[in-house]
Symmetry: C2
Subunit: 208 residues, 2 copies
DNA sequence: AGGCTATCTGAATGAGCGTTCAGTCCGGGC
DNA sequence: GCCCGGACTGAACGCTCATTCAGATAGCCT
């Protein structure tokens, strides 16, 4: 009956399994980043995490389970990072500017666009990934819409159609990022940030 | 009697193998469209083409060979279709408008955006696909740049930076198309065409 | 006609890989 | 001390799937 005290006891020993689990998740993300979803093997994950294959399947029910768990971890971290990063900026213009840098992978790298590409394609065939992707996109677009609304309220932006501008700017970021992820010879992080920023100036009719 | 009944002779029988090969290529494209590159099996292709697995491997050296052959077929057709479609339009404004419809999958469908997504991800890991994808993108962007240049020469467009405008409009199309391909609830072909067209009006400073 | 070659097939082969499992290790409650 | 159950491992197991192969079929050349 005294079972209620489960997490306590030897703090280190009790936490070890959880840390191990986390290590496996990180390893999973790494493997997907380099090999892609299609190329990710249980053995790759186990090796990258420094554990046995058995343990990967012990913590997550299957390979797909590990992949999906990694996905949701990624989503949560993405949003937390984004929210924290934007919080640090002071006004709408600075926030928007910061979003350009984030997308370009300049500032504190929020994520890797290669992973996003992989996610998109997986979303074509896997309902779980579709969910994650939609949620991610919604959050990112909501953040952008919010910054724009803030700028409009402050009289800094004057878009003719704020919603359309938000969708277009979000989509433009995706499109530019594809070239970055694919290492297109004529796309660099700086160029991406510039191109996007100029589009924002145009769309939002920013003075200056 | 004369073998005339079924296979007949002469030119038709000599062309038969070539037609068979073509059928397999079409089937390969179909399979990739529905199952994706990662999910494409030799047996799927054979079944879709109505042949044996052996024949697929006989004509192309391997599964990868068939996939890559299908890729280059796709690339050629894409470009031919695009060039022919644009040829039919009369002026830069009409051509640009037509490009919006093409991207939206309205007019005569040039291709399927799902396939493009698949291609992008495959390009992350396969050099052959990377080549194809770069070539495709180059051609598409060149066509766009050309239409813009034509419009500038005709005094219909007045972009502040024509090259940047072309890259942005091409990238915006990609980004919007992702949502279409993923069947994002708030994206439709019509909406895509509208959003893109409005952006073009803005970028190119078109008079009403 | 008789062989030669290209085309095509269905079964066999074998490698790769996810998943299962029998068992080890160890901390903590009795 | 003894046992229990969670954490963990390494070795199978079995299935899927690309590739190989031994032939069958039919046109083509001499």
């Amino acid at each position: 009956m005294a079972k209620g005290t489960l997490p306590s006891s030897g703090s280190l020993s009790a936490k070890a399994p959880e840390e191990r689990r986390e290590r496996i998740l990180r390893a999973t993300v790494d493997v997907v980043r380099t090999r892609g979803f299609a190329g990710a093997r249980v053995s790759d994950i186990a090796e990258a995490a420094g554990t046995s294959q058995g343990l990967v399947l012990y913590h997550f029910h299957s390979l797909a389970g590990a992949l999906n768990a990694a996905l949701t971890l990624l989503e949560d971290e993405f949003y937390d990072d984004l929210a924290r990063d934007l919080q640090e900026q002071v006004g709408p213009v600075e926030r928007l500017r910061h979003m350009a840098d984030l997308g370009a992978g300049l500032g504190p790298a929020v994520g890797d666009w290669r992973l996003w590409l992989e996610l998109w394609v997986r979303a074509l065939h896997d309902p779980d990934a579709r969910e994650t992707r939609e949620s991610l996109d919604r959050r990112w677009r909501a953040a952008l819409r919010e910054v724009i609304a803030e700028g409009v309220a402050a009289g800094e932006f004057a878009p003719s159609d704020a919603d359309a501008a938000a969708i277009r700017l979000a989509s433009l970021m995706d499109g530019l990022a594809i070239q970055l992820a694919l290492e297109d010879p004529d796309m660099t992080p700086e160029r991406l940030a510039d191109l996007w920023w100029d589009a924002a100036v145009l769309e939002l009719r920013m003075p200056r």
